[in-house]
Symmetry: C2
Subunit: 228 residues, 2 copies
């Protein structure tokens, strides 16, 4: 008559679903242990290696058993994401101005993407926001409190900052991986001319910070730099 604990009608999201009932025997595993095993697997072998069977094997059980704790693989990815976002704690105190604090948060995000590259494949799914992500968002709103602009603009700015940081993280992880094999470069004259030109000293070490600063001020203060 009853169904598995996690599946079934599946009305409420994973965050508010109780981990176990009070009737049966003690579970052999825990939701957090499963998530931890999945994160370890994703860190070492990539997100593609995070299959239900592989995660279950890492815990010494079968794939079907995981559905006592989760209702789907998407739930697992949501839990993984939120747990990883939790590593952004503790949040820095607001010491200087809000801009420096936000840039610091961006650098922390960048480091998180470096520690868990699979986050890049996961953040863009339309899915439920977990409590850790909400807490991080809440902290951003707190930092931006002195900024006098509509709330919607703050929301959009925070999302855009996260997106831009993810772009930088992606550039670092897949640096120069694309190859021109099998194409006739003669058809692209400006490209080959640019390649012939001696490469500049590549001076920008603070490209991320400069970009973030420009983005934050541009979006929040409503003033964009003009150049002719």
């Amino acid at each position: 008559m009853s169904d598995t604990a996690a599946s079934g009608p599946d009305r409420q999201p994973i965050w508010s679903r109780p981990e176990r009932g009070s009737r049966g025997p003690a579970p052999a595993h825990s939701r957090d242990a499963i998530v931890l095993a999945a994160i370890t697997l994703a860190d070492t072998e990539g997100l593609a290696a995070v299959s239900m069977r592989a995660v279950a094997a890492a815990l010494g059980t079968g794939a079907g058993s995981l559905y006592r704790y989760l209702s789907s693989r998407d739930d697992l990815l949501d839990l993984m994401t939120d747990r990883a976002v939790g590593e952004l704690r503790p949040y820095p105190q607001v010491e200087g101005d809000w801009l420096e604090t936000m840039v610091l948060l961006g650098r922390r995000q960048l480091a998180l993407f470096g520690a868990h590259p699979w986050l890049l494949d996961v953040i863009h799914r339309p899915s439920g926001i977990g409590p850790q992500s909400l807490a991080w968002f809440d902290n951003c709103i707190r930092i931006l409190e002195p900024v006098r602009c509509p709330v919607a603009a703050k929301f959009e700015t925070i999302a855009m900052m996260t997106g831009v940081v993810s772009l930088f993280a992606r550039r670092e992880s897949a640096a120069g991986a694309f190859s021109f094999a099998g194409v006739d470069l003669a058809a692209y004259p400006h490209l080959v001319a640019a390649f012939r030109q001696p490469s500049g000293p590549a001076p920008r070490a603070d490209l991320v910070e400069r970009t973030l600063r420009s983005l934050l001020t541009g979006l929040l203060l409503g003033e964009s730099t003009e150049a002719g």
Copy 2:
């Protein structure tokens, strides 16, 4: 002794592999027809609906037959991407200054993402760049010719512009899809306070352009706006 035309050792990428040999009977389909069917399927039912079997069924054949024209599903996605990028033609003539032209190119990219939302799920894969993408890149380099800065900076800026445009496109496609169901909002005081605040008039209609302008000038001219 022989293998299928597209599979086998698979040394050279799809761009330079001949579509068919000269020995056997005439093929019933073509590489481009397959790609077109796949794009139509992706446009209407999403990228997840683009399975080998579904594409083959749309052409009235079996899944295995597609491997006479392609060596893998990844090849199909590469071809789809490059064909979609080809819709960015014809490129605008350089009339005004380079900044306006680049912003125009960014708006065209945004429109392309709107026409083919599955591009958002595809562009970030590390894979071979097709001839249309190379042509678009070549055109960007041409537009940026009057800008005096290292070539590497131009490459990074173009990639970053594409990335930022993809972020905006994603925001438009999944507008306000996240729900707070199942979470206790009381734990996030700054969030609820921000929500209580009357939402501003949401004035920015040119947010994309302002962001792109700020990004391009910031990355290429090396001057970032400072705000205290």
